[in-house]
Subunit: 153 residues, 2 copies
DNA sequence: TATTTTTATATCGTACACGATTTAATTGTG
DNA sequence: CACAATTAAATCGTGTACGATATAAAAATA
């Protein structure tokens, strides 16, 4: 047994932020082979989920839900458009705003994607109850962190 | 009340993976102003934590602990080197390997960074017990996800 | 020993992610 | 109405993050 090495592992692991950081990457790696089949990246998939829930949203509306800036979303949405999953049109009522809408292909993709969430939940190895509690704790923490970040700025 | 809009919010929020994704970004945003003072980014900070725990590690050793590839670490470590926090030297015993070591500046930075973890824990708004349980649940989930990702590949 | 295989980094291309700035359109105010 | 202030996206620069590939060194094997 290499106890010294083991202690070091445990030390980095003590950071809650690091656990979140590494889980985030782990999700990404798990999703990749599933999403490759759909021609989506993980962030693109999340945007599509948001659009399946509510079609025809502005960039800023998507940004609020995803906690992302236009500097991130604009190129991502252009890629979704290039792949034929969405259209981007200036809102005639307010030319500053860009409406993002699903194409037929984008809507059709939903069926193919429907199996993924259960597949992923299985992979977490968590029972529904633990998953729900964890999800709830994480959202609470996120809101706290966002509030804290705002104060520091 | 706009119940339709509210439901949509809740739907995206139902995804555990999305909670992790957004918490990860929230941590990043919270850390940024604190780490700016030290001249570090968040991933760079995590690498420094790993080196403060054990100096003089190979790139792959850091990679195992951080769950990162050399394609990510090499440029990151070069930036840490450019900032004078670490040195990178080929191991004379095995010229394939690169040893990463802290400079005096890199070691000194530890004191400045010592206040950060408590500061961050405060910002999470969690009591120690919840934080520990959450951390433990996340690590378990990460190991499950990594195992699942390996199976899918 | 010569050759193959494996291992450790590095490099390249693609895709986020954000802060700072820019551009264009709308709103607010005198 | 004119002009300032605000708002919505887009653009730019820096820094992750990873897969595929390249390179060089070490280990394994013929």
């Amino acid at each position: 047994m290499d106890d010294a090495l083991n202690d070091d592992f445990l030390q980095l692991e003590r950071f809650l932020c690091f656990s979140v950081y590494s889980v985030s990457h782990a999700f990404n790696r798990l999703y990749k082979p599933l999403l490759d089949k759909l021609g989506l990246t993980y962030p693109q998939y999340l945007v599509m989920v948001a659009l399946w829930q509510e079609d025809d949203q502005s960039v800023s509306s998507i940004g609020e839900k995803m906690y992302l800036e236009s500097s991130t979303l604009t190129p991502l949405l252009k890629r979704l458009e290039a792949h034929g999953f969405v259209t981007r049109k200036r809102d005639p009522k307010d030319e500053r705003s860009v409406r993002v809408s699903l194409t037929a292909d984008g809507k059709a993709l939903r069926q193919k994607a429907e199996a993924i969430p259960t597949c992923i939940l299985d992979a977490t190895g968590l029972d529904i109850e633990t998953a729900k509690r964890l999800n709830s704790d994480l959202r609470t923490m996120r809101d706290q962190l966002e509030a804290g970040a705002k104060k520091l700025t």
